[in-house]
Structure formats: C-alpha cells, structure tokens
Subunit: 352 residues, 2 copies
C-alpha cells in the first residue's frame, strides 16, 4: 500500500491527469506528472512536474524511482514506457498488458471476445483489397478505424455504399486498420469499473452517452435501459478487468441494440470522460477510486447521491462568466481554445 | 472579473489554502500561494508557490502584481500586508478593514454590536486589576482571551471562582485581553456566508458545531435549532458582511441559548472548518464560492444534496488505510502528525 503522504506518478499531463492529481491530493498523496510538454493542465495542479519524453528510458526510470506507484492518464503511453517503469520495481498500474491490448483495436476486439463479451462484426484490414473484401461481407458499409492511436473520432472513417476502398484506406494513411460493421444501435452506454490489486471491484451507475462528430457531448444517469441490461454490462466490465488482472479504473463502452442486447465497442484503460459526473454525483468519484486502486487502498462507495445526473462537455468554447451555467463547473486550465477541444464540463444533479 | 485562466493569489499555505487552490483549479484558474514556509500543504497543489515573509513589502508587491486578485486563508495576515497588496492596484479580497476588525477581539465585539448582533457580556482587560474588576462584574468567572492571535483554544483561559487575576493575566503574557462572561449555551452553530463585489450574498445550511478542548471536532447539519433561529443567524451574518463591505466567504459563530436566543462568539474572515462539509454535501462548497466571490464571478447554488451531513475532523492522527472510515476523506498533506494538529476530515452524508 502506498502510505499517506506517498507519491503517485502519472504518465500524461492532460485534464484526466489534472483530475487524478486533484484526487490524489485530497487523499494526502503527492502527484508527479511525467509528460513531454512544459505547460499542461495537470502540471499546474500536481505537486511536481517531471518533463520528459515517453521514450527517454533514463528519465522514466528516474521518475519511477521517485514514485511509490506509477499510473497513467493517456491510453497511448507506449507499452515500452510502462515496461521501463515496471523494471525499476515501482508498480505500474495499469500495466503493459492492458495497454498492449487496448492500443490495438484488433487485439482489443479479440480480448473482448475471449472474455465472452460480444462485439460488432469486424475484420482486420491491411490493404485496399482486404477492405474491399470486408466491405462486401458487411453489405458495402462499415466504419474503418486505424488499429492504433485513434480517439475522439480521429483515425476513423464511416464508409457508405459508394465508398472507394483504395481512397478510404489511403485516407487513413495505408496503415493497419479494422473494419467494423455498422451497429444499428438504439443508444450508447458505458461502464466505469475500478479494481484493486486484491481483486476488489466496484462499478458506478451506467451512464448513457451521446456523441456528435465522434466526440462525447453528454453522459446522463439513469440510462434508458432495463436493470437487466445494466447488470449484464457491469458483469461484462468486471469480467474484463478480472481477466486482464487490471488495477485502476477502466471504461467499457457498449452499443445497446433493439431488445437490449449489448455489443461492446471499445474500452479505455483509464478514467473516462463518460464518468466525469461521478465526483459530484456519487459518494466516491472515478478519479478518487482510481487513485485508491493504484495505491492499494480499499475502494470508496460508488452510489449516487441524487436520483439522476447530466454531464455536458464544454467543447471549443468557454462559458460566459457573467452568465455561468447552473451546475457544477469544471474547467481544465487550457489556455488555448480550439475547435473540438475539450475545455471543461458541467455536472447537473437532477431529480433532487 | 478575473478571466478564466487568470491567477488568484492566496496569502497563507495551510490546508485552507490547499482547498482554495483546488477550488480555483477546478474553475480553470491558477493559484499562487504566498507564505514564508518552504513546504506547505497548499504549495504542493497550487500552480505556483511564492516563498516570502508577510512583512517583506517588496516580495508582496511583486507577488500581487503577478495576480489578478489576492485573497487569504489565514486571518492573522498582517493588516499592513493586505495594504501593501492593495497599493499595487491588485484587489485584496477580503481587505485590510475586515482583517483589522477580526484581528482584535475588542474591535470584533464592538463591530458585531454595531451590526445589532448580540454578543456575550465582555470587558477589555489591560491589567490584572482590570481583570479583577471585570471578574467581579461577571460573578468571579469568565473566559480570558488575548485580544490578538488566538485560535483553536490557544491564547485563552477559563477562569473559575478561585482564579487569581494576576496569575491568569501573566499566564497569557500580560498582553491586552478581553474577559468574556460565561455563556451557558445549549449548543454552538455557525453561519458560512459568501458575498461578491456586487453585494450578492449566499449562505449555506447552518451547522451545529461540537468543540472539545477548544478545537472543532464535529459539524453537523441539520442543527437542532428552529427555522427561526437559523433565519436570525443567517440574517445577522448577511448584515455583518454587508456592513463590512466584505468580499469572499466569512464564518460567524454563535452560542444558542436556552429558548433559542443567539449570542455571537466570533467571526473568521475566511473559509472555515465548520464549512468543510459543504463541497461534498452542497451544490457548491465554501471554497468554490470564496473563489467565485473574490474573482467577481456569480456565486454557485448552496443547497444541500442530502438530507443531512456530518463532518468529523481528524486530529493528531491519521486513518488506517486497511480500514478506511466510511465517508469522503480529505487529508491535508501534512507530513508530520502532532498532538492537536488537524490532519484531515471526513464527510458523511446522512439520510439518503
């Protein structure tokens, strides 16, 4: 167990790292942010900032030795970086295995299938010909995604009946991809799950997620699903983290099909935007339970304190100060507003 | 108004500064802590730490010029330091006036009386003879308090019928004091009130406070008082901050007498331990509304999200990690545990 007053290293310096650093501080722990950038949202609230590249083994090792445990806020931290940390003897949580699975969409799908978690039909695509063949399997339509490094709708293309396979494959850089069949889903949900080194797990209520342009806009609880669907989703997420021997918080996203059947879409080996309502709306939020888990502390209770909650992202703009929206505001300390950039979020408790 | 991305200076580096810095960060603001100590709870979570003495005018001025607004977390910041900050043109909120009143118990009592807020009978005491005379006015008993610099039960003595005035006056260093008559109170409450530069005010539900050895142990809501008593207490606190032209959060403590009459005890020109339950239990907590107020932003809503709440201080010890208490834990990042030292607190929502 990391003692009170101990140090949590965090790989990555964005808003997730910022909220993790805040949660660590609330528990009397110091956070050290490791990232290549000089000025980042997380570095400005953490106890310390260690500027370094993720491929600088010497810097990573020195950083790891200064920490009681190292975690991450970015799912594309190189697997080699996680291995370098672990080689110092400082626990890396989650570890290289989870990263390796999550960073490759084909590995991710196979792992989900191996956990008995249904996914949408998919094919690996390593050439325009393979794409053509996969498209014809799926009625000429589907979503082409790079196997690596996609997020917030980047690195993917929706292909309709008229799609030219060569153009599409080239547009994503000719790199290894997968093609997913369209899932005619009714809604999207996710499960946020935490797991400790002892195998204790906790989930939160299941949020319904509304995306636009591939970016999460809103998460709300309760989702319009049956208790059975929620229970099935949670059980799948617990099965996933248990099979992965995962430590920390993980988010598993699902499509809910007509009739309530669930198809897993993807998972993120980290705290997740669709859980940003948990700190205000629950006894314990995802950031705190992630810190508790990686520190080896018991998890906090996750029940809602209100009948419902709505979380809206603030994207590509900042709120007007004179007319602040009602609800709990969190801004990420990003000094530059850009189109599509997540600047903050607002949490509104409902039904009180 | 301080813009999003702006900078809030905080005089003082303890746990209140730490929680203020966290609240500022949540609103996308950077906090700079100014204090003489090299390593403090607040410095480890703020964007920046400016090490300097409160009587170093040059350092204070440079610090103030780096901030959009300056506030404080410690009520004994010298009045001259607040004046030095204000002289740079950077707003000092709350300002020298509130500090001057609050730092001298005689001024404080007179100001409360001028606001039509009843206080316990009291006398100024500048000598053993004056103490003897005041004691005889109050039936030979009372509480002797230094006019300046007392907190958490320090700088005060309870005097019973056998008290020797010379001994007592010497024990507190022979400095200017006041003698308060004993108030045979039924319970203690406080009002946490926020006020903006525009004169907007907000109060939270009134907590009942349980002290032991002069140190707050527990605050709980609801207090066992009538709605009329709560309304009277809140109205008095609003009158106080309005008369003081106060900006920020202030706490006014009362004794509740038999029958519900209120006698003000003292006020603190800052966020207050008896409001530490507000972040978890209310739509907006005292730290966030203090930051909003000093930044010139509109206040957030203050209603409870649960029927009740209990906040317990963690004093002179740390919780056991393997058996963490139920509830929301906040630790202050103090590396040394000392008898009587406030190390953290736990907030438990009740009645959900």
């Amino acid at each position: 167990m990391v003692p009170i007053g101990g140090t949590i290293g965090i790989l990555g310096g964005g808003q997730l790292g910022r909220m993790l650093a805040d949660a660590a501080a609330k528990l009397g722990l110091d956070a050290i942010i490791f990232c290549p950038e000089a000025d980042t949202p997380a570095a400005r609230t953490a106890a310390r900032h260690w500027e370094g590249a993720f491929n600088d083994d010497e810097a990573l090792s020195a950083f790891a030795r200064a920490c009681d445990v190292v975690t991450l806020e970015w799912e594309n931290v190189p697997v080699a970086a996680a291995e370098t940390v672990a080689a110092t003897g400082t626990p890396m949580r989650p570890g290289a295995k989870a990263l390796g699975v999550a960073q490759d969409r084909a590995n991710e799908k196979r792992f989900l299938e191996a956990c008995d978690i249904p996914v949408t039909p998919w094919r690996t695509v390593d050439s325009a010909e393979a794409l053509q063949s996969a498209l014809s399997d799926f009625g000429g339509r589907g979503i082409l995604k790079t196997r690596r490094e996609g997020y917030d709708g980047k690195g993917q293309l929706r292909l309709g009946a008229e799609a030219d396979a060569l153009d599409a494959f080239s547009a994503l850089g000719g790199q290894p991809c997968i093609l997913e069949a369209f899932a005619p889903f009714e809604r999207e949900i996710s499960v946020i799950v935490a797991r400790t080194p002892d195998g204790e797990t906790a989930t939160w209520d299941v949020p319904e997620n509304i995306h636009r342009g591939g970016i999460l806009r809103r998460s709300q609880v309760p989702a319009a699903i049956t208790p059975e669907t929620a229970a099935t989703a949670k059980a799948a997420a617990v099965r996933l983290v248990t099979t992965l021997d995962y430590i920390g918080v993980l988010a598993l996203e699902f499509f809910v099909m007509e009739g309530g059947a669930l198809l897993a879409n993807e998972f993120a080996p980290r705290v997740h935007n669709s859980g940003h309502w948990t700190p205000e709306a629950c006894r314990t939020g995802q950031f705190e339970n992630h810190i508790r888990a990686v520190a080896g502390w018991p998890l906090g209770r996750t029940e809602l304190v209100a009948p419902g909650v709505v979380m809206d992202n603030i994207i590509g703009e900042l709120p007007l100060l004179a007319d602040l929206p009602d609800g709990a505001l969190t801004l990420y300390g990003k000094h530059e507003v850009r189109v599509g950039r997540k600047m903050g979020h607002i949490v509104r408790l409902t039904g009180l």
